[in-house]
Symmetry: none
Subunit: 140 residues, 2 copies
Amino acid sequence: MFFGEYSYKVDEKGRIPLPPNFRAQLKDGLVLAKGMGEKCIAVYSIAEWRRLSEKLAEKALTPANLRRLNRAIFGTAFSASFQGQGRIKLPDPLRTYAGIGDTVIVVGANNRVEIWSEDGWKPEITSAEEQASQIIESGV
Amino acid sequence: MFFGEYSYKVDEKGRIPLPPNFRAQLKDGLVLAKGMGEKCIAVYSIAEWRRLSEKLAEKALTPANLRRLNRAIFGTAFSASFQGQGRIKLPDPLRTYAGIGDTVIVVGANNRVEIWSEDGWKPEITSAEEQASQIIESGV
DNA sequence: TAGCATTGTGGGGAGAAGTGGGGAATTAGG
DNA sequence: CCTAATTCCCCACTTCTCCCCACAATGCTA
């Protein structure tokens, strides 16, 4: 389970660290993918990613659908691992997709980790908070 | 299992490299075919190709159908292998079919690899992503 | 308060991988 | 049988990746 919000610098080689307790949960390997629908990078553990992709594949009704789905899911995913002191390299296609410059916001989101650009994160979190408080007001 | 999205240049001799990762999985030989339904080149391992063609043959209901199918599938397929530093030569017919100029996008799509022209890939992936996020919205 | 451990940040260097091109061997066509 | 074109093996250069080490800042401990 992933928690919290952290800010890191992207160094000249495109690397970022992850919070130490995220590392522990991801030590068996991780998968980087496009955040579906949002302009961010999604990080999954191997197990979680497999579970997710299988579940998605079940939803494809036709072979053509399945091909496109595989393209969207696998084509945008990169497996990665920690190098040296626990940093990962952000693949260029994903970095461009998420509009990441030299600072990232790393966010724990329950079953996955999300990596946002500074500019992408601010509007996202404010509207998400708004929505959350509405849901809470309606009774939890 | 094939992952990720990579961009490569086609050199003057019509060769492209494949990601080291993919090479290892295809070292026993590979088959190039037209992407069924899409304007791209599909790359299969020998084993996967055999599995696929057997499956297709089962679906052919009449001998005439089977002949046509065989023509369409085997007639346009090329077996290839890695030469020198791990590059493959793109057969001219397939190259024209996929509209490939001097840059390709190599995409891992689970059980196969796809080779796209730059111009063909962009619209395909955007609509594929749209479709995927719709499926996600409908509840995973 | 002093010292130690952990963690973020920067960078050097060896090796791998992408790119370009020469030349021998094989094939096709006249 | 000879010539031309294509294929494929090899070599060379450049770029990038990844492993390593170092330093600074922070927080904990004694």
